[in-house]
Point group: C2
Chain length 203, copies 2
Amino acid sequence: MRKHTIDTISDRRRQRLEQVLRRRQPNLTIVVENVWDPHNVSAILRSADAVGLQRVHLLYTIEKAPNLRRFGKQSSASAKKWLEFTFHDNTEKCFDGLREDGYSIYASHLSREAVSLHEIDFTKKTAIVLGNETRGVSDEACERADGIYLIPMMGMVESLNVSVAAAVSLYEALRQRKEAGFYDTPQLGEDAFRDKLTHWATL
Amino acid sequence: MRKHTIDTISDRRRQRLEQVLRRRQPNLTIVVENVWDPHNVSAILRSADAVGLQRVHLLYTIEKAPNLRRFGKQSSASAKKWLEFTFHDNTEKCFDGLREDGYSIYASHLSREAVSLHEIDFTKKTAIVLGNETRGVSDEACERADGIYLIPMMGMVESLNVSVAAAVSLYEALRQRKEAGFYDTPQLGEDAFRDKLTHWATL
């Protein structure tokens, strides 16, 4: 199959790619910490794409860093194809890098100091940390985060699956950003927009 | 093991059960239509309990109605233990019954007539319809619903897993209801509250 370029894709395809790039949110990201189940990571990536994330941080300090090939098929319907990834094996360096880039870091964790998800201002440049299936976000990541939030749980069950927690958190960010008009004007700079469009055309 | 009753449970247990019952939302429910994967149903029930639902409607018109024993363990951590179920095999009868009880019925479906999730007023008495993994909500259920909503999708991927869609929808309902104070005053009537407390003590 001949590979497409920006000059050979159909108008309809180009419009679709441009539409999605206009809605990308380069100032919202997630840090996936030691999540080992490929189904969970795939589901998280799907929600990340749906909410318009462009980059996902994969922080593996205990579990072995996963091979991206395990996360869903290489079809155009697969979320990972449209996302960029940064791998980390050190929490301090990961968070320092994010802070240098201007992100506030919020970890999803059940704890006394946590505020409710709905109190977080997701219109700021934000990185959301989601933790391992059993252990949750690590103590180190919680301590190094700028804040800890919890997803309100009104029932008898005391935890949510990590992919559900990711979706609920990301969709609260989407709700706030939609209200603030973040999906109506491109958030990517002109150069980044053009570079990504050129690259996406080949995918 | 001796079975506990309301007179033999610990004060701490009783307080926990009462806390959860005070937050139950008898005027919010979901209709799970032909969802066949037990993992998906389990995840939906977990979110339902977490948001404070008391009853779940299982509508199976094509897929065989599932055996509840398949939906998660019979441990106290399992959501299904704290929920009540109504089985249906006829969409019209199911929806007529809900309407007689005063529910407005909203189906989660990608379609031109759909409004955004965030435009729905979930402080009203609402039943949310979630459809089969592949086919989505059926045409019949969409036609018979009072409205159709969609979960905004800003990326390249064009659908969410049904358990993710359920969680995102239910948590939007929680957000609105929390803001409106629905979790601060008991929504269950006194008799229902006492009956359920007596029953839950034995679980």
